[in-house]
């Protein structure tokens, strides 16, 4: 590589570098600063220590995000697989349909689920109406404000992020490799478990990362669909920064964020470890 090449690259990446510096590096620095200082500004480990109190919240956040991720994976893989088997034009339409919800605002979509799941919402009203026809009085299911509703919200909102990377990897698998497997005696099941599944691991890994990370840190979904019954770690952090339910405390909020960030980094590290073998196959997102 010669000098002018490097210079050109520097100029091309400058806007992004500046952006990253201002909106990523500096905020992380601020989080670190607040996490390790008291409200008077002196160094302290008290914020970090106080987080032990929220271990239950961390656990439930991770648990719900994991459940949502697993459901997404179980739904997305068969979907992505069958889309990848369709004719080219049909594939485009299906991918468009998968992405269609993402064109609408995230908040509006989640509000819509509220009106569907409420005690007097669409589902309950409909069931009540049906049962009243046969003369039965029904009180309705409790769906909103449960952990189930939160997981539903996560799955609904993040499903496309699981479908797309898996679909992309599946379409990239060389047809002749599948033919080679059949040629060597592999029936449909063997072809899938021995060739297609292992070759789509990079897509699964990026899908899991792209669903788990936003799910574990969400606060909107739990607030709207959990109705304050279940606090996720995102809600607690929001409360500390905005003071919705008590005093504003940037320091504890920052400490909570920091720990969450570390947890996410650790889980991504584990993921990438799985990905290493498959990395050379290309793949990944889009």
């Amino acid at each position: 590589m010669n000098k002018s090449d490097t210079r050109l690259k520097r100029i091309m990446t400058a806007p992004f570098s500046v952006w990253m510096a201002i909106f990523v590096i500096v905020p992380i620095g601020l989080v670190l600063y607040y996490a390790f200082t008291s409200s008077e500004g002196g160094f302290t480990l008290e914020n970090i220590a106080s987080i032990w109190e929220y271990r239950g919240t961390y656990l439930i956040s991770i648990e719900l995000a994991l459940v949502a991720t697993v459901i997404c994976l179980l739904m997305a893989y068969p979907l992505a697989y069958s889309i990848s088997k369709m004719k080219a034009r049909r594939q485009q339409t299906m991918v468009l349909l998968v992405m269609l919800p993402m064109w609408m605002n995230f908040l509006i979509r989640t509000y819509a689920w509220m009106t569907i799941l409420e005690d007097t919402g669409l589902i309950n009203t409909f069931i009540k109406f049906l049962l009243s026809l046969v003369g039965y009085e029904f009180e309705g299911f409790t769906m909103i404000n449960t952990n189930g509703a939160i997981v539903l919200g996560m799955v609904y909102n993040f499903l496309p992020y699981m479908v797309l990377p898996i679909y992309t990897v599946l379409t990239k698998i060389d047809r002749s490799v599948i033919e080679a497997a059949r040629d060597l005696g592999a029936g449909g099941m063997d072809v899938f478990t021995r060739v297609i599944l292992p070759q789509s691991v990079p897509g699964i890994i990026s899908g899991i990362t792209m669903v788990f990370v936003p799910a574990v840190s969400t606060f909107v979904i739990s607030k709207l669909l959990g109705g304050g019954m279940t606090y996720l770690i995102g809600d607690i952090i929001e409360n500390y920064f905005l003071g919705n339910t008590g005093e504003v405390n940037y320091n504890v909020g920052a400490a909570l964020s920091l720990v969450l960030m570390v947890l996410i980094l650790i889980s991504m590290g584990i993921m990438n470890h799985f990905d290493e073998d498959a990395e050379t196959n290309g793949g990944g997102l889009f």
């Binding site: 002749s176 033919e179 060597l184 005696g185 196959n281």
Partner: protein
């Protein structure tokens, strides 16, 4: 006929209304090295895919070892394929790639180990067991593909232009190696290529195809020396193809002269195509020539000179070890056994004149002729 391992009967295939194979009949003998040779789009790969089971013919029967196998899926056939771009499993290492077919068959681990190391030895890749597929060169990947297919002991190995992606030197080496492997294992190889040299040097039998039809089946020597029509004569090697008239048995007129030849059985004064290979023409002094012409181009090819001679407006190609010069008037002498007579065919007049010859153009004009045929 007794030892046919594969019998294709009246096979027809079309895609999107275009007919790829037209009522094809082919018998393949056990343990032979058979090559399907033809330009791209001639139907040779389609034929291979029908035998492999990746493609069902629209009509016709595929018979393997006396049994009809039309509906039998690829994974239940006793044939294996070497794919054009290797199609290796990149998520597995060399050992696991070769072991793949054995694992499917639930072979015991110990036997797998022995079989894989035998195969690695066969293809000269000892010690490569744990190597990553992506770290191998094209030639090495091709060897892994060969080992992977042979380890399951197929009766027939199908090879779809397996050397196309390799450079010339490596290709020559692999040609010898493949031929050796075929002879050592004593199994049938069906080899698809568009490279006539490859076909001539490796095959026991060549099937020349064009536009979904078999043009000629024969040994390399037959195909070269006795092409049945202008297409085969032109596709295999270089040929001067001129219009001639068969006066009687062993006597033919062309280019304004009468020649002795070794062919018979044509009608009296029947119009025919006459083929003369460039290397069979001798250059003699102008006055002694059976044909007389002017040199219009000379190219040095290493072993010989390629000389284009204008004879009455028709340009001949001659290969000679003696240098000639543009503008020279020379005579040509042709032995009777160098003259090959063919019946007129749909390809008459399309090939064999070197008027606007260049190697690149040769390729192009082959393609053009194909398109015309398709229309």
């Amino acid at each position: 006929m007794a030892n046919n391992i594969i019998d294709l009967k009246n096979i027809s295939v079309s895609f999107d209304g275009e007919q790829i194979l037209k009522n094809m009949n082919l018998r393949i003998e056990d343990k032979e090295f058979l090559t399907l040779l033809g330009p791209s789009g001639c139907g040779k790969t389609t034929t291979l895919r029908i035998i492999a089971g990746f493609l069902q013919p629209d009509s016709g029967d595929v018979i393997f070892d006396g049994k009809l196998i039309n509906g039998v899926p690829a994974h239940k056939r006793q044939v294996n394929t070497i794919f054009q771009r290797y199609a290796l499993f990149t998520h597995l290492n060399v050992f696991e790639n070769i072991a793949f077919g054995l694992r499917i068959r639930k072979t015991p681990e110990k036997e797998i180990k022995t079989a894989v190391s035998e195969m690695l030895e066969l293809v000269n890749l000892k010690g490569f067991e744990t190597r990553d597929i992506n770290s191998l060169s094209g030639g090495q990947q091709q060897r892994v593909a060969i080992a992977r297919a042979l380890v399951v002991k197929p009766r027939v190995l199908l090879l779809d232009e397996p050397l196309g992606a390799l450079d010339l030197k490596l290709r020559k080496d692999m040609q010898n190696e493949l031929k050796n492997i075929q002879q050592r294992l004593g199994i049938t190889f069906i080899y698809v290529t568009h490279d006539q040299e490859e076909a001539l040097s490796m095959s026991d039998k060549i099937v020349v195809m064009n536009n979904g039809e078999i043009q000629q089946i024969g040994t390399p020597i037959d195909i070269y020396n006795e092409p049945v029509n202008a297409f085969v004569a032109d596709f295999i090697g270089e040929s001067n193809i001129v219009d001639g008239i068969m006066r009687e048995d062993f006597v033919v007129d062309f280019s304004g002269n009468t020649f002795k030849c070794l062919d018979k059985g044509f009608g009296k004064n029947e119009a025919v195509d006459v083929v003369v290979r460039p290397e069979d023409v001798d250059v003699v002094p102008y006055d002694e020539g059976m044909l007389k012409g002017t040199v219009t181009s000379v190219t040095f090819k290493g072993v010989h000179f390629e000389i284009i001679v204008d004879i009455g407006g028709f340009k001949w190609m001659i290969q000679s070890t003696d240098e000639q010069f543009v503008g020279d008037n020379i005579g040509l002498y042709i032995e009777p056994d160098a003259i090959h007579i063919m019946k007129k065919s749909e390809y008459s007049g399309l090939y064999g004149d070197f008027s606007s010859y260049s190697e690149e153009f040769d390729e192009l004009s082959n393609a053009d002729a194909e398109e015309e045929e398709n229309e």
